[in-house]
């Protein structure tokens, strides 16, 4: 009985913290519609800041608490709302998610920049020196008592603010109808700012209360707080009372698992992963949300790739890889060789997220599965293991998709993140598992597994150059596959499903089958990428396939442009070529380079089409000017020959590689036909007639046609032939 009470108190303390954090999350989500993935990171930063004030600078506890909770926390929340979140109105769920995920990555990097990781920073609980309070059968520490008391106070306080204070009522009103609150004379921006100030302050409170347990470590503390998200899902991210109930359930389960779970090496991970498991289960039993009939209007636009463009892209990738493989040293090849396998994992996001509008935050987990398959079935270099990697990852993807089929948007993101956490914290750390003595299941048995290079026709492809070329060719082929899907029947189905599931259902499209196939396809591609990644790494461990890396890859692929294969290449190049290169060129940047991916993602709200879209727009005149393009190719080939014959070194080669396309683009821009400008002049005269009315009140003119073509995005070249 004593034990039961003790672990009840442990559970209730956790529940109290989860409730505080989750209520802040619900507050910001309901009033502004943005699910803040960085909510936990805000709590993490608060815990670090509090530690700095209290224990480094020696401020008295009340002062440190007041400054963090009542000054810095609210200010930070207001800053987030005004600078970042306000600009996200009218963007898709994906963009909103990427911005908040990037914020999470940025804040983790920021914390690691200020407080170097790897140093022990003890943070004692409140009144840790005092004797625990005796409750007869058991005792409760002051920290536990304070935590539970604070949660009760938060519950009562929120209730009062949201039902009694006018501004609190306005916050709830904004959930129902934001523009109507303005018609009532309430200032909606003020309402949002207050919600973010309160929400961030609650995150800070939760962070300070939870940190003494697991200790101050930026990444794990930020993601540990993910457990609190499960509580918010109990309340469907809306209801505060249900959120508190969810927090109690999760806290108690975690507490009792700590007390009663048999102490063995298979189940310890399960306790740590239990909030994620509960989250997964709750998502499963949550009442099915109705299909949304309303079409989501968005600012995104991804044009259909052309066949010539696709082949050009594939050839460029392979040629680029060959150039790299023949010019770089072996250590460099190992560093930059990760670009293409990771690029394949990023490609797996394109059909799933870009075409189908589904969200997955566990692509590297699928890659991890592919890597494990490669390590075990590919021992000795059997290339068939690659096929198995694809098939097994696809099968796991389909299994994950089954519950995900009824989820969408933010719930899907949470479900897949929970799956990644379950793998990270538990399954990937399992020792060898013997199934009834029949066979062993061995994942990362000893913490790491070695992987053999692929062997074909008696030849082992173990040198990094060949491996890079194999990965690049595979990347190019998968990119072609993705483009082929985009141009075909499945691609149309996926895009239609993204625009309106309800409309697709009424057209007789089998949503379940479509979703299942795209999930399996995507997981299979990720598994292939993981398998190749594994051969390149030669030794893999769970740390290579963590949630944080999935988040980073997801965010940067969206930054690049999730609707096109170029976005995947962009992500892989940025993360695994540009960042290492920057550190090589400028060694002191290693301290802050981690801020860049997050920073890039935060800037996404401005351009939801992605960076690649702009790059391609910039290169369009070059592609049209054939002569200039040919001259550029010759120049690049010449530079390559000079490099191979050692006339110039790598740096000069790189400079030339960057210089030639830039010069060519400028040259192509100069020779651009003047017809475009002439057409622009006509715009002024005919602008008074709306586009759809042209040709009704007077006959069509050439200028009308050209304007319409441009509006519809038809290429001028194609149209000249018709005319």
């Amino acid at each position: 009985m004593d034990k039961f009470l003790t672990f009840t108190i442990v559970g209730l303390t956790l529940a109290a913290i989860y409730a505080i954090i989750a209520s802040g999350l619900v507050l910001t989500y309901t009033t502004t519609g943005i699910f803040n993935f960085a909510h936990g990171a805000a709590g993490m930063l608060a815990a670090f800041t509090y530690w700095q004030f209290r224990f480094v600078w020696g401020w008295p506890t009340p002062l440190a608490l007041v400054v963090v909770l009542l000054v810095l926390g609210p200010l930070f929340g207001v800053l987030l709302e005004t600078v970042i979140m306000r600009g996200l109105e009218g963007t898709t769920d994906t963009v909103k998610l990427v911005v908040s995920i990037s914020l999470l990555l940025f804040m983790i990097a920021l914390a690691q920049l200020i407080w170097a990781p790897g140093i022990s920073r003890p943070l004692p609980g409140f009144l840790a020196g005092n004797k625990p309070i005796n409750l007869g059968a058991t005792t409760i520490t002051w920290h536990q008592a304070i935590t539970i008391g604070v949660a009760i106070a938060v519950a009562i306080g929120l209730r009062l603010v949201l039902t009694r204070a006018r501004i609190g009522i306005a916050m709830r009103a904004a959930v129902d109808d934001r523009s109507l609150t303005t018609l009532n004379g309430a200032k909606p921006n003020l309402v949002s700012m207050l919600a973010w100030a309160m929400g961030t302050s609650l995150a800070a409170l939760g962070g300070i209360l939870i940190a003494p347990g697991p200790g101050l470590e930026a990444a794990s503390l930020s993601l540990l707080i993910v457990s609190a998200y499960a509580a918010a899902v109990f309340g469907r991210l809306r209801s505060l009372p249900l959120t508190f109930l969810g927090a109690i359930v999760i806290g108690l389960v975690e507490g009792y698992l700590a007390g009663y779970l048999p102490q063995n090496q298979y189940l310890t991970g399960m306790r740590i992963a239990s909030p994620a498991i509960i989250l997964f289960i709750v998502l499963l039993v949550l009442p099915n949300p109705r299909l949304r009939g309303r079409m989501t209007r968005s600012r995104e636009y991804f044009p259909t790739p052309t066949l010539a463009g696709a082949i050009g892209f594939a050839i460029t990738v392979v040629i680029g890889a060959v150039m790299l493989a023949t010019t770089l040293s072996d250590p460099d090849l190992i560093t930059y060789g990760r670009v293409f396998p990771i690029g394949i994992v990023a490609l797996s996001l394109v059909p799933l997220v870009g075409f189908a509008g589904q969200i997955s935050l566990c692509q590297l987990s699928f890659a991890g599965i592919g890597a494990i398959v490669m390590a075990h079935l590919g021992a000795g270099g059997d290339p068939i293991a690659l096929v198995w990697a694809v098939l097994i990852a696809a099968a796991v993807g389909a299994v994950v998709a089954l519950p995900a089929l009824r989820l969408s948007g933010i719930y899907l993101a949470l479900g897949t993140a929970a799956f990644a956490v379950i793998l990270d914290r538990w399954l990937f750390n399992l020792p060898v598992l013997s199934v009834f003595g029949l066979f062993d299941i061995n994942l990362f048995a000893n913490g790491s597994v070695s992987v053999d290079a692929i062997e074909l026709f008696g030849r082992s492809f173990d040198d990094p150059g060949t491996q890079m070329i194999i990965s690049a060719v595979t990347f190019a082929l998968v990119a072609l596959l993705v483009i082929w899907i985009r141009r075909g029947r499945l691609g149309r189905r996926l895009l239609a499903m993204k625009d309106s599931e309800a409309a697709c259902a009424t057209l007789g499209l089998n949503l379940i089958w479509t979703k299942l196939s795209v999930f399996a396809l995507s997981a299979g591609i990720a598994g292939l990428g993981g398998a190749l990644y594994a051969t390149q790494l030669t030794s893999i461990q769970p740390g290579n396939f963590e949630l944080v890396q999935s988040l980073q890859l997801f965010a940067i692929t969206v930054v690049g442009g999730i609707g096109a294969v170029g976005g995947a290449l962009f992500a892989a190049l940025s993360l695994y070529a540009f960042l290492p290169l920057l550190v090589t060129l400028w060694p002191s940047s290693v301290r802050w380079v981690g801020l860049l991916p997050g920073g890039a993602g935060i800037g996404l709200g401005r351009n939801p089409n992605g960076a690649v879209h702009d790059v391609r727009e910039g290169f369009l005149p070059l592609l049209a000017a054939r002569a200039v393009l040919a001259a550029m190719c010759v120049a690049v080939a010449g530079a390559y020959v000079l490099r191979l014959t050692n006339v110039i070194d790598n740096w000069a080669f790189v400079v030339l590689l960057i210089l030639f396309p830039v010069i060519a683009t400028i040259a192509a821009g100069l020779s651009k036909p003047r017809a475009v400008e002439a057409a622009a002049g006509n715009d002024e005269e005919i602008r008074d007639v709306p586009l759809e009315w042209r040709g009704i009140d007077r006959p069509w003119t050439k200028a009308d046609l050209e304007q319409l073509d441009r509006y519809l995005g038809l290429k001028e070249m194609e149209l000249h032939d018709v005319r």
Binding site: T163, R166, I169, A170, R172, A173, V175, D176, D177, S179, L180, T181, T182, L183, N184, G185, A186, K187, P188, P690, L691, Y711
Partner: protein
């Protein structure tokens, strides 16, 4: 003095033009009815007037002062009251909390309640109930209550009749007429014309984003069917 004046207003959603060079005046103390078929741009016109949607060109003047770019909450505080299409209420708040939301324009809660309950005693009975569970008519009453309780100088009404039984529509327009007699300027948008023409001093017909006809109600009655049928 004109309570509301629109000068050469054009408006668009993204690249789709909705309103073309609209001129419209609501003289102080008058009721102006804006009629027209579905999709004519009537609601957009009201949204532009209330500051919810920025015009592509043209000026909005309230009580003689140009208010382009003034945010809607500021216009509300200056005495403009738009009751939007559908049910202009917060369904997840209680009736009391909905009334509380009406105090942002500066009216005391006791005054809001008093003025609402005189005209709509039903709301007093339902004070603790969640607004979303009220009947359609009661919801519209609650929405209308803002137009009465906040004592606006200019009332903009968007399709009061939508989805309501004819008898309730009659009742609501009875109240509109009363409010008008108290000197409030009103711009009312309707798809169904007969009821509203009874209370209006002037009326205009909006078709495909242009005002095709304007004048006194009796002059317009016969043009209406033409406007709707597009003949």
């Amino acid at each position: 003095m004109n309570s509301l004046e629109l000068r050469g207003i054009s408006a668009a959603y993204d690249r789709i033009d909705v309103l073309f060079d609209i001129d419209l005046v609501v003289p102080e103390g008058n009721v102006v009815a804006l009629l027209g078929p579905n999709g004519a741009g009537k609601s957009t016109l009201l949204r532009v007037a209330a500051g919810l949607h920025g015009p592509a060109s043209g000026d909005v003047l309230v009580a003689g002062r140009r208010v382009n770019g003034v945010p809607p909450e500021e216009l509300a505080r200056r005495g403009m009251c738009l009751i939007p299409e559908g049910r202009g209420i917060f369904p997840n708040l209680t009736v009391r909390e909905n009334l509380r939301m009406m105090t942002f324009t500066g009216t005391k809660l006791s005054d809001v309640e008093e003025r609402s309950f005189i005209r709509f005693p039903r709301l007093k009975e339902r004070i603790g109930q969640t607004a979303g569970t009220l009947s359609g008519g009661e919801q519209q009453m609650l929405a209308m209550a803002r137009g009465l309780a906040t004592d606006p100088a200019l009332l903009l009404l968007d399709e009061l009749s939508m989805g309501l039984a004819p008898i309730i529509v009659e009742e609501l327009y009875e109240i509109v007429a009363q409010v008008a007699r108290e000197g409030v300027s009103i711009l009312v948008v309707e798809q169904f014309a007969s009821t509203v023409l009874g209370v209006a001093d002037y009326a205009a017909i909006l078709v495909q984003g242009r005002i095709v006809r304007a004048g006194q109600p009796h002059e317009l009655a016969e043009d209406l069917s033409k406007a709707y049928l597009g003949a």
